[in-house]
């Protein structure tokens, strides 16, 4: 009899879900979008199609409305049936999403899947926007947004040109267990430091790697950049200058620490020029003005 009750409840749930509208016609104006990747979701919102989003992945945390959408899980661990259940008429996925089996099942089930290229350069940012815009049938608005983003990055670059003495920057991804992990060449952090006119002192190393205390002495960072996760979610201290080697560095002596929101800083979406300018303004307070590129962040 308990089994009957369980089946009854399952049946009720099925009935409720079945009441949802069926698959919409394919066309250039998608009504049910599943958006995977923080930057992709930001672009969809920036192009004014946020209301059509019926599901996002767990990396889509901006704008705040996106967090209220059903979460299909981490972008590399998507569930095919979970996505199909949302009855999307467009699936936008950032390059690197997976697993491959789930994506091939989704394609086979008739969901149009558009892969958005990833990348950390200005050019990649523009093609990200263009790809999303085309999928939404918003080519014009997309070209405009792409143009704005490029112009803002160019103007920042021009402002930075006059600065001869580049700051030596160390990006610290995490301080878990009191052992800092820093961003080397090829990382988003490296690209962001470059855009903001800084000099990544950890660029001899590829990827995110543990930093030995001794090497900090030779790197001589003048500024430490970290992500601001809002809370002290990491175990242990989140104060880099609690680590003696970092406290003794030029950055430690000047207490030069910059914290920025993770997705804002490393999302590589439409807000990237604003993030780069904000970082630059914090690196060179006398030379760079903050906040002149707010337009792209809407």
């Amino acid at each position: 009899m308990r089994i009957h009750q369980i089946f009854g409840m399952i049946g009720l749930a099925f009935g409720l879900i079945a009441a949802f509208p069926s698959f919409a016609d394919e066309g250039s104006d998608p009504q049910r979008i599943v958006s995977v990747g923080g930057a992709v979701t930001e672009i969809v919102y920036a192009l004014g199609h946020g209301d059509a989003i019926v599901g996002v992945d767990s990396t889509s945390t901006y704008p705040p409305e996106a967090r209220a959408k059903p979460d299909v899980g981490y972008m590399r661990q998507l569930s095919a049936e979970g996505v199909i259940a949302l009855q999307p008429d467009l699936l936008l996925i950032e390059q690197g999403s997976g697993p491959a089996e789930a994506l091939s099942l989704l394609k086979a089930s008739g969901v149009p899947v558009i892969t958005v290229p990833s990348g950390h350069e200005a050019g990649a940012l523009r093609s990200k926007i263009a790809t999303v815009a085309e999928a939404l049938g918003e080519e014009e608005a997309g070209a405009e947004l792409g143009q704005t983003v490029m112009e803002e990055l160019e103007s920042l670059k021009a402002d930075l040109e006059a600065i001869e003495d580049r700051k030596r920057v160390l990006f610290i991804l995490s301080l878990a267990d009191g052992r800092p992990t820093a961003g080397g060449a090829g990382t988003g952090a490296d690209a962001m430091i470059e855009m903001a006119g800084g000099l990544n002192v950890f660029a001899d190393v590829e990827g995110y790697k543990r930093l030995s205390s001794e090497s900090v002495a030779t790197l001589r960072p003048e500024v430490i950049v970290m992500m601001d996760r809002g809370t002290a979610a990491e175990h242990g201290s989140t104060d880099p200058f609690a680590i003696p080697a970092l406290a003794a560095s030029p950055a430690g002596e000047a207490e030069a620490l910059i914290r920025m929101d993770a997705l804002f800083l490393l999302g590589f979406g439409p807000r990237t020029p604003a993030a780069a300018r904000e970082l630059a303004a914090k690196l060179y307070p006398e030379r760079i003005e903050a906040g002149s590129s707010e337009s792209a962040s809407q």
């Binding site: 099925f14 979460d71 899980g73 996505v83 697993p99 491959a100 086979a108 008739g110």
Partner: protein, 360 residues
């Protein structure tokens, strides 16, 4: 007096055999029930009668929308079958190893299966676009499962060779060499982790967590038969494992071909676990908990324990996967969380109730 004694023993044996038969029947029924329910539920709103209709219509039908046919035929059905086969294979492998080592904590890591598979898989993830590209690229998405399987078999073979001298395999050497080889594989895996970039690191993390999310018919056809063969062949070992509980020389004096049995047991475990790791990554817990649950509940006779473990392992993994798919829908939970969350409290409860019965 003597006659009376024999009668009592006979009656006790009869009771136990009856209890074992009933348990097996109940477990088989449980597996069937869980499997039917697992095909019927999922995050998409398909009503149970719709699922039945889709199953009856066969794959690739055009009487229903393609997406519904795919959900039932390409997503749920292969997953449920794969879950049942992997659950059975892992539980049988665990029961076999615990019998062979006469150690209640034995798991596939001890015969090199998991460390070897992990090393090979991590190597493919990290070096797949570099040094190993000529080997990896032609295999496409099958490179990872194939590597895991080959890695598992190679390291088990190496360990077996180390532990065997003059045609005799020393279980103690196998155990110690397994720990050493595991540490060494772990060191190399750690080095690959150091070399890996951000994306590779995430792939590795999810691979080691395991899960049935990537199940396809192709994987099922590639890995399933190996596991199924191991499960079906395992009852051959039952008498030998029973005798081995007395000790190795005692088993030999009982007229048992101990060496042949050890070889067969190791081959069987390596095949079963290697294939399961290749299909779904490392899924812990089932191999340890399921045989112990049955030992506590019914008894340690391997003639019952092996098929019982297969049925209960299959039912537990199918149930865990059904929950993993639905609890956090539209996302999926890692399956290891659920197997542990279901199994561990129940196991502790049994352990408290029947304290001391494991004899350890």
């Amino acid at each position: 007096m003597i006659e009376g004694g024999t009668m009592v023993r006979g009656a006790a044996n009869g009771d136990r055999a009856a209890a074992e038969r009933v348990t097996l029947a109940v477990l088989a029924g449980l597996l069937l029930l869980v499997a039917v329910m697992a095909i019927g539920v999922g995050p998409s709103g398909l009503s149970p009668d719709r699922v039945v209709a889709l199953l009856a219509a066969g794959p690739g039908t055009d009487r229903f929308p393609a997406s519904e046919s795919i959900i039932v035929w390409q997503i749920r059905l292969p997953r449920v079958l794969m879950g049942a086969i992997i659950g059975a294979a892992l539980a049988v492998a665990g029961a076999t190893l615990q019998g062979l080592f006469r150690n209640p904590l034995a798991d596939p890591g001890l015969v090199g299966v998991s460390p070897g598979a992990a090393l090979a898989a991590v190597a493919v993830i990290v070096l797949g676009n570099g040094v190993l590209a000529p080997l990896v690229q032609p295999l496409g998405i099958f490179a990872l499962p194939i590597a895991a399987f080959v890695g598992a078999l190679l390291s088990t073979f190496l360990l077996y060779t180390i532990a065997t001298r003059g045609g005799r395999t020393s279980v103690a050497t196998l155990l110690l060499a397994g720990i050493a080889l595991g540490a060494f594989s772990g060191a190399i895996t750690g080095f690959f982790l150091f070399l890996s970039d951000d994306n590779q690191l995430r792939d590795i993390t999810f691979w080691t967590l395991g899960g049935l999310g990537g199940t396809t018919w192709l994987k099922l056809f590639a890995c399933g038969p190996i596991m199924l063969a191991a499960v079906l062949a395992s009852p051959v070992l039952a008498r030998g494992l029973n005798a081995l509980t007395l000790g190795e020389s005692e088993a030999f004096h009982l007229g048992l071909e101990v060496q042949r049995m050890k070889t067969l047991a190791i081959v069987l475990v390596a095949g079963a676990v290697g294939a399961s790791v290749a299909a779904a990554g490392i899924i812990g817990f089932i191999g340890i908990i399921v045989p112990h649950l049955l030992r506590l509940a019914v008894g340690a006779d391997h003639r019952f324990l092996l098929p019982g473990s297969a049925l209960l392992g299959a039912a537990l993994l199918v149930l865990a996967d059904a929950l993993a798919r639905t609890v956090a829908a539209p996302a999926e939970l890692p399956i290891g969380i659920i197997t542990a969350a279901i199994g561990a409290p129940f196991f502790l409860w049994l352990l408290l109730r029947r304290r001391g019965l494991l004899g350890v």
